[in-house]
Amino acid sequence: MSDVPKIIDFHSHIASGMCFPQSFQGGVVDNMTVALESHGLPVTREKVARMHAGTLTDPLCDELVVQMDEAGIAESVLLLPDFTYALKDSTHTIEELVEHHKKVVERHPGRFRVFVGVDPRWGADGLALFEKAIVDYRFDGMKLYPPCGYRLSDDMLYPYYEICAQYSLPVLSHIGATSPVLDFEIAQPIYVDKAARDFPGIDFVLAHGSVHYPDEVAMLCNNRPNIYVDVSGYEAFGTAALNTLFRRGINHKILFGTDWPVFRLQGRQKSLVEKLDKEGAFPESMTDADRDLFFYKNAARLLGKNKLKSAEAAAAL
């Protein structure tokens, strides 16, 4: 293929056990084990756990870069949710994880951006760490994980939103269910609304919105100018939902995302990209221009607002 699209993957993670505490992984493994056992397969939880751990074997993203090249993915946004407050079996502190992400960005120049999460209950230290990651390390946005125990419009988050507004940085949040060790009910999309209204200068991205609460997410995208959706999760729940999403008049709001390494057993990044066309994710009515918006132009527009980086670029001229 000569005209490989310059895709931006707006939703990925570093494939390493350091980023996902054992308890978090254990919950995922429980669900897999129930499914496999129900089919009468000769499984044990321990074996499923080892298979699952086999997907978290790329701490420096060397393999991911190879797969991005194959798939025509120019850049990936690495999301760093902070599980360390809610899940006490985390092996690394959030400071250490921030440092590790910085190392990965430097190892692969131009390939990765980082959205950093700090649990708002860490108080002043957490806020200082967040500001350092944004201002000193030039991370590109904020990642939130409400299932850890807070709502998107919680007052505790407002000091973080002030920083994001100051530098025009996007905030991406997990939406809906996740590992069963965490809370699901608190992660509903509607909780973004107050924050989105109070901070019109921040773009809020609702992750997995084509599969979790798709109607509510589309409604919010339609009516609130600064609310967006990423489609990660389409790998598991089929592409029919995506086809519907693309016909809802919000193609300027939809961002491509794979959620690497979550669907690693489902195939390489290339096959996850190809799956979209092959399984009819794109309606016939969808224009090439809209496809470009989906694969990279929406993402580039959101990332391009970053005032720290634009000031840097201007200074370099």
């Binding site: 897999m32 496999l36 397969l41 000769p42 499984v43 298979m51 074997t57 057993l265 489902q266 096959s271």
Partner: protein
């Protein structure tokens, strides 16, 4: 069944017994891709590995990473052979 004696055909049959009926009807052969041709997803890949372990006595745990990387039926056969 001794792993030394399991043939390519037998491995293909084991895979066919695990994947969706619709895909299995066309038959399973080594050059087929797991996802593209056979529609294998995460849980199906795990199922294939567990059934292979049970029927061939292979050591799954020593080879988890290779199974994660497997793209084709031939890749699976290779991992079983090396186990």
């Amino acid at each position: 069944m001794n792993k030394g004696h399991v043939s390519d055909d037998e491995i293909c049959r084991i895979i066919a017994s695990t994947i969706a009926q619709k895909a299995a009807k066309k038959g399973v052969s080594p050059e087929m891709s797991l996802r593209g041709d056979l529609g294998v997803d995460s849980l199906t890949l795990m199922s294939i590995v567990f059934v292979l372990e049970e029927k061939t006595g292979i050591d799954v745990f020593g080879r988890v990473e290779e199974f994660v990387r497997a793209e084709s039926v031939a890749d699976i056969i290779k991992v079983v052979r090396q186990s």
